[in-house]
Symmetry: C2
Subunit: 221 residues, 2 copies
């Protein structure tokens, strides 16, 4: 059985943490795997703890009362999720689904809570990470409230170029659409437009940014 120590040291949550604290955390973590398309937890479920992805891709999403889905985050190797519920002990704020086969480590809520009280470095890291999370969410709200689907798509493609988790297995047009609060048809049409604008080239499997500067212009960045 592997230990998660390596993955922990790589996570910003545990930067600068004492090795013995890290070992104590690692010993109490639980390893789990999920097949593609399996739900890891549902919105409203009681919180198990903080998850760290070892391999695979996970989407965090919400459904409205009619079953329409909005994808809040697409995560990959090394990312963590469910931090909010893990930190406040409340219900999971969204649903997590495996987009591909997933291997992940769970840090149970009570273990995290106990260490947070004792380790001021861990608390500081957590505050810094939450601040980053808030900035990211504010950016998402800004996008939804103030920019068209075309601009949001351009911004997504620019993010994709920097974050490999945002493309690959399971990230279909439908997933992108659900992330942009749009539809697969509209994403298809707008990709064609961006191609005609000379910003990108694409086929069924890959999207290449052919003119990043132009794409950034369209993205209003």
């Amino acid at each position: 059985m592997p230990t998660p120590t390596g993955y922990l040291t790589a996570s910003p949550y545990f930067a600068g943490i004492q090795p013995d604290t890290l070992n104590s955390l690692a010993r109490q973590m639980v390893f789990r795997t999920f097949p593609a398309n399996q739900i890891i937890f549902l919105e409203g479920d009681p919180c198990e703890g903080l998850w760290f992805i070892q391999t695979g891709r996970v989407k965090i999403s919400k459904l409205n009362s009619e079953g329409v889905e909005h994808v809040m985050h697409i995560l990959g190797e090394g990312n963590s999720f469910n931090d909010i519920a893990a930190l406040d002990g409340g219900a999971c704020p969204a649903t997590a689904t495996a987009l591909s086969e997933v291997a992940a480590w769970l840090l149970p809520h009570d273990v995290l809570a106990a260490h947070l009280l004792q380790d001021s470095q861990l608390a500081t890291n957590t505050i810094r990470l939450l601040a980053t999370r808030v900035r990211g969410l504010v950016r998402q709200i800004e996008d939804l409230a103030l920019y068209s689907v075309k601009v949001r798509l351009a911004r997504f493609l620019l993010q994709q170029a920097e974050n490999p988790a945002l493309s690959g297995v399971g990230v279909t047009r439908a997933t992108i659409a659900a992330h942009l609060a749009s539809t697969p048809q509209t994403v298809s049409t707008l990709l064609r437009e961006l191609e005609n604008d000379g910003a990108i080239q694409f086929d069924r499997h890959h999207i290449y940014i052919s003119d990043a500067e132009r794409l950034r212009g369209i993205a209003a960045l």
Copy 2:
């Protein structure tokens, strides 16, 4: 010159904090007033610190590249703002504007940072508050991505009933519209619709919820 100690003890940031810590913080805070419509800080400004509202109403908003505004929060007496910049020391993530005459206390960033390292109770409070903030932002994203303007308006009215800061001076149709990512005209039309639905009654100055259950039904809650 008044001291802010009373306002501090009332803020969830400082629940359970030792009185001498509180006094040390209070002594280093700065009192300022702003006339109605004055900008307190702009998005991108370097961070001064954490603000606590003593009296008055403040809006936190973002502008897109064409000058269209989205109101992220409307805050009143006892609320704090600019926590993210105050905690990570980065630039202000949004613009703060006084909607009415405002009296507020500023806790400078470096003072907060120093106390955070020393006081684990303060760090714990901060983490809990940030978790609440994240839940609120996730809810806003859900609203924007998954529900119509009418549903968002109904939800806003239900929040307004519980939070006095969301109504009163400076909270015009235009402000509500900018909070819902819509327009004053549409808000006007939809208020009329909600009235015809029998959920509310309104005039130029007040909105009364006449059937909360029905309004909750429309709000999909």
